[in-house]
């Protein structure tokens, strides 16, 4: 019983954070150790607002999206062999997404590439977005925090460490 209470107590801050659009991305260090390549990007609101000031006029759309964001968090790992990472990490991510989060996209390809996109609706807008892409040799988790206009979301592709949808672009 004590274990259950302690576990619930430990999960409470994570759950509260997730309702704010941000999920806890403290992935085990062993994941980066096993990966052949790892990239971690952590940009909070103040850094994003600062960066938005220097985007060129051609990137007006990106600037509009970035200025309103409170955080961009990316974790991306590539591995040399199939199944090198523990898939329970993905379950841990799912567990953080409470009932308020809505899955809006699921893509499952023959190459065992699974992509899921979750949003946290707030009225007419979105307060957070989580993209989980799990391939046999690659795991990428992207968390955008703050008001997001889905129509303009594509403008962030390739910026701030956010991967492009197609690697062939």
């Amino acid at each position: 019983m004590r274990k259950i209470i302690v576990t619930l107590f430990l999960l409470m801050p994570a759950a509260a954070w997730a309702q704010n659009g941000r999920i806890v991305l403290d992935l085990p260090a062993s994941l980066a150790a096993k990966a052949s390549e790892s990239v971690e990007v952590t940009l909070d609101g103040s850094m994003l607002r600062f960066a938005a000031r220097f985007l060129s006029n051609d990137e007006e759309e990106v600037r509009g999206v970035v200025r309103r964001l409170e955080g961009i968090y990316v974790r991306s790992y590539e591995f040399d062999s199939d199944g090198a990472y523990d898939r329970s990490i993905i379950d841990h991510m799912h567990a953080q997404l409470g009932p308020e989060w809505k899955k809006i996209v699921t893509v499952q390809s023959r190459s065992r590439e699974n992509t899921e996109i979750y949003t946290l609706p707030r009225g007419d807008s979105i307060a957070g977005l989580v993209i989980i892409t799990a391939e046999p040799r690659e795991l990428t988790i992207v968390n955008l925090v703050g008001p997001i206009d889905l129509d303009k979301l594509a403008s962030l592709e390739g910026e701030f460490g956010i991967p492009r949808r197609s690697k062939h672009e």
């Binding site: 052949s36 790892s38 990239v39 990007v41 103040s46 850094m47 600062f50 220097f54």
Partner: protein
């Protein structure tokens, strides 16, 4: 007057803490087995010049370079600063690693602290205070800024 004093004190404290981060990072890298620091003559003079004329939007910098086949303890590296790095990349095949911390200062200035480690080459610890606008232009069009710099 007291407001100005407060701003000056805050700036001094921020600068002192940034220098402390740089110094402790240099200490951690310097303590890594197999790495030894390379001293570059005239770096203090270059720093003084940079602080006066701000070439390419750089307002200040500190640099420490290391040579040798050493292994940097990145767990210790991450403990040198209370801030979370904005970027952290690691290639297990080559051992190349880069960690970047950044924080906005007053106006258009941003302070960056960078550690770049290549086991087959050098390890560099760099602290730079740069103008965000110039940095953005450099990223968008590196050739144009280099041309501006080479102009007499």
């Amino acid at each position: 007057m007291s407001k100005r004093l407060g701003v000056a004190l805050a700036f001094l404290l921020a600068a002192a803490s940034a220098r402390a981060d740089f110094d402790s990072l240099v200490r951690v890298v310097g303590a890594s087995r197999g790495l030894h620091r390379i001293w570059t003559p005239g770096i203090s003079l270059a720093r003084f010049g940079v602080r006066l004329i701000h070439p390419a939007g750089v307002h200040d910098f500190q640099i420490a370079m290391f040579d040798g086949d050493g292994h940097v303890d990145f767990e210790r590296v991450l403990m040198t600063s209370s801030a979370v790095p904005i970027v952290r990349t690691h290639d297990n095949r080559t051992g190349e690693t880069a960690v970047i911390w950044a924080r906005p200062l007053s106006g258009d200035l941003v302070e960056m602290l960078l550690l770049a480690h290549d086991p087959k080459d050098q390890t560099v610890v760099l602290r730079a205070v740069v103008n965000g606008e110039t940095l953005a232009k450099e990223i968008a069009d590196p050739k144009r800024v280099r041309a501006d710099l080479s102009r007499p």
